[in-house]
Symmetry: C2
Subunit: 264 residues, 2 copies
Amino acid sequence: MDIPTAEIVCLGNELLIGVTTNTNAVFLGRHLTKLGYEVRRVTCIRDDLKLATEFFLEVFERKPDLILISGGLGPTYDDIQLEVLSKATKLDLVENEVALKQIKKYYDKKKNAGLTKERRKMALMPTGAEVLQNYVGGAPSCYLNFVGIEIYCLPGVPTEMKDIFMRHILPRLNKKQNKKLYEKKFQIFQSIESQLAPFILEIKNKHGDLYVKSHPAYKDKQGIIIHISGLGEEAESEVDKAIEELQNLLRKNIPDIKMEPFVD
Amino acid sequence: MDIPTAEIVCLGNELLIGVTTNTNAVFLGRHLTKLGYEVRRVTCIRDDLKLATEFFLEVFERKPDLILISGGLGPTYDDIQLEVLSKATKLDLVENEVALKQIKKYYDKKKNAGLTKERRKMALMPTGAEVLQNYVGGAPSCYLNFVGIEIYCLPGVPTEMKDIFMRHILPRLNKKQNKKLYEKKFQIFQSIESQLAPFILEIKNKHGDLYVKSHPAYKDKQGIIIHISGLGEEAESEVDKAIEELQNLLRKNIPDIKMEPFVD
């Protein structure tokens, strides 16, 4: 079975001008990888209708199985995610009644209630979009299948994005027949990456289907983290074996090496 | 004068599988924006020779003025930044003597000294690359001018990347005649983005050259941050004026609004 591919797209000038650190990509990338997707690219693009539309035309040509988009669903003039998608897919932007009801209900509870023009705008979705309710914020999320590509449109605010992903998207992707990820990590002290490199390569060459990687200065921890993973149930014993082989190789060749299990 | 454009490229599976949060992009994006560049895209790509080479061919077609690349200069088998650049530019990968000397000097001080194959690999650079010394880690950085595009090749480890950027790259970019950024921010309480949206749009329409944006839930602060900026000395008075106009407009229309200056 081919490994399904995914792209993550984050829309918003704040990600390009260094105002916001892209924590959405790490959350989505982690989940997609565990679900068995190969995340091919994470791209941050500006709130610019022309540039963003050109960008999506390129993505569609690459034909990933899945696209997750975050950012640009809100009420302000530069929230243009769905307008961009409409242009790139040539699917008309229409007022979605399900979305409009959810928006009305959300703002009716607010002090300054009412369906203003800016709030109504959030119900404009490409024809055929399926609404995914946002239980945290005002902007509904949606799903679109375009030329066989599954597209999920998410808001950029992390609390809203995460709730929608966990509630609506994760259960759907979980049901797919992808081979899921199996992984193990361990931590090395008293050595440096360039000393470890030949042994890591030896194990990588022996287990071509596995991902074998060293991470220096990982998550502010000392030492080097070794990360080995593979897809599907058959990967479990192979990952365990590769870990054991690498540790034996290191112990033999670097006598004073210190290794410890690593848990995220 | 046209605004110079830039792209930031981050190479490394760890950014796509959700292991590492991309803090390099926020650091580089912030500096480039202040230096007057329009950062058009931030793209994270995998350590895959074919996919990464295809990606760079696309970037070259877009002809940004500047490309900053981080990640993939190290000694392991999957550190392929310069190999990818060599393929995409068709500039031969050759052993750079300046780089080799720096690498030798760096590892001579280590317990396990010597120029191993893996360390020597880090001196392989596209023909014509200018070496930028890495004072923090082992992998030298380099600069390349390819068909008029300025390309800086940086390591992915943040401490190394930042030191090289501040030491070698920032002073060079600072010398360019770009119009520098001028910006101001303030914070709003007792309101929500959809209520502010029409007033922000009014100010944006009045000051078309300025960037006028609201950020909800910004950096874990409460409320909404308003961010107004422009390029060049002539922007200074216009930004100040736009801030004043927006605050007056908000005070008039939302009587119980609370506003405070915001400092990062």
